[in-house]
Amino acid sequence: MTRIIVVTSGKGGVGKTTTSAAIAMGFAQKGHKTAVIDFDVGLRNLDLIMGCERRVVYDIVNVIFGEATLNQALIRDKHCEQLYILPASQTRDKDALSQEGVGQILEELAAKDFEYVVCDSPAGIEKGAHLAMYFADDAFVVTNPEVASVRDSDRMLGILSSKSRRAEQGLEPIKEYLLLTRYSPERVKIGEMLSVEDVQDILSLHLLGVIPESKSVLTASNSGMPVILDEKSDAGQAYADIVARYLGEDKPHRFIEEKKGLFGKFFGSK
């Protein structure tokens, strides 16, 4: 069975592509045959985050228009042979994607025994975002602890529950998970940032994991390595936890509490 996961948020710049790259790599590292698809036609960036930008020959629009086969367009990842990337088109209009075309690609991936297909949604609620979520079984809602991001996530939840294939066909609804990114426990503690509980109170979502604000996200993207490969980094470990938790492993939540320095250890309350 193929499980289709959409990584979505509504708002831009919250970490959808970083998350898509990291979790797709995480599934593949655990031995699951995984494809990650960039739906941001016209503004593709997943290839850059995955470090395969120079190996892009064909893209998703070429496949939909019959100009290339799916096999020709899929790029095998250089770090993990279970992982394949389907890039977005950089030159076409975003309306080049069609529901039938995307549906056919997903069916073909299922026929090729892919276990997980990660759909990296563009920002906004237009066609690319709609098609990224339409066929999904699960939704990873990437949210920053910030008012605009939380509001847009709530809007996205409404769309997931009314405009998806599962909603239209009256099937079991998409399973929705919260991924809280760019979290800073230090700022939460002094009341400068919404806490995990605050965001959960508002969105009423199952928390899959918290990704701390981390320098390693930028350094990973600089070098075209999904941050999960940086096993020493806090963000890399947080994504590894998320993958494990999603696959059913019991991993306690980390990175929610402030790291206590020497000062905290001596003078802290706990």
Binding site: R151, D154, R155, V188, F267, S269
Partner: protein
């Protein structure tokens, strides 16, 4: 009480608290529109046109509200007539 607990006292009026309160109000408001049928604005416009044929009412004289609970859906139409037409 440690030195760090000092910060917890100020939490009640912190910007995070303000953010949460604003979001709770906004999200509740926006969710209430989520299930409304899409024909409501057009319905309101056409009703207003019909009423204006008979009574001289302004643009704000009519409000159309849609409410939904487990048992029923209610469409509430409220028309405010001008004083002198009584």
């Amino acid at each position: 009480m440690s030195l760090l607990d000092y910060f917890k006292i100020t939490k009640a009026n912190s910007t995070a608290t303000i953010a949460k309160e604003r979001l709770q109000i906004l999200v509740a408001h926006e969710r209430s529109f989520k299930n409304q049928p899409s024909y409501l604005p057009q319905l309101q416009k056409e009703l207003l046109q019909v009423i204006q044929k008979y009574v001289n009412v302004g643009q704000d004289a009519i409000s159309v509200n849609f409410e939904q609970d487990e048992h029923q859906e209610t469409l509430e139409v409220n028309i405010v007539l001008p004083e002198k037409s009584r």
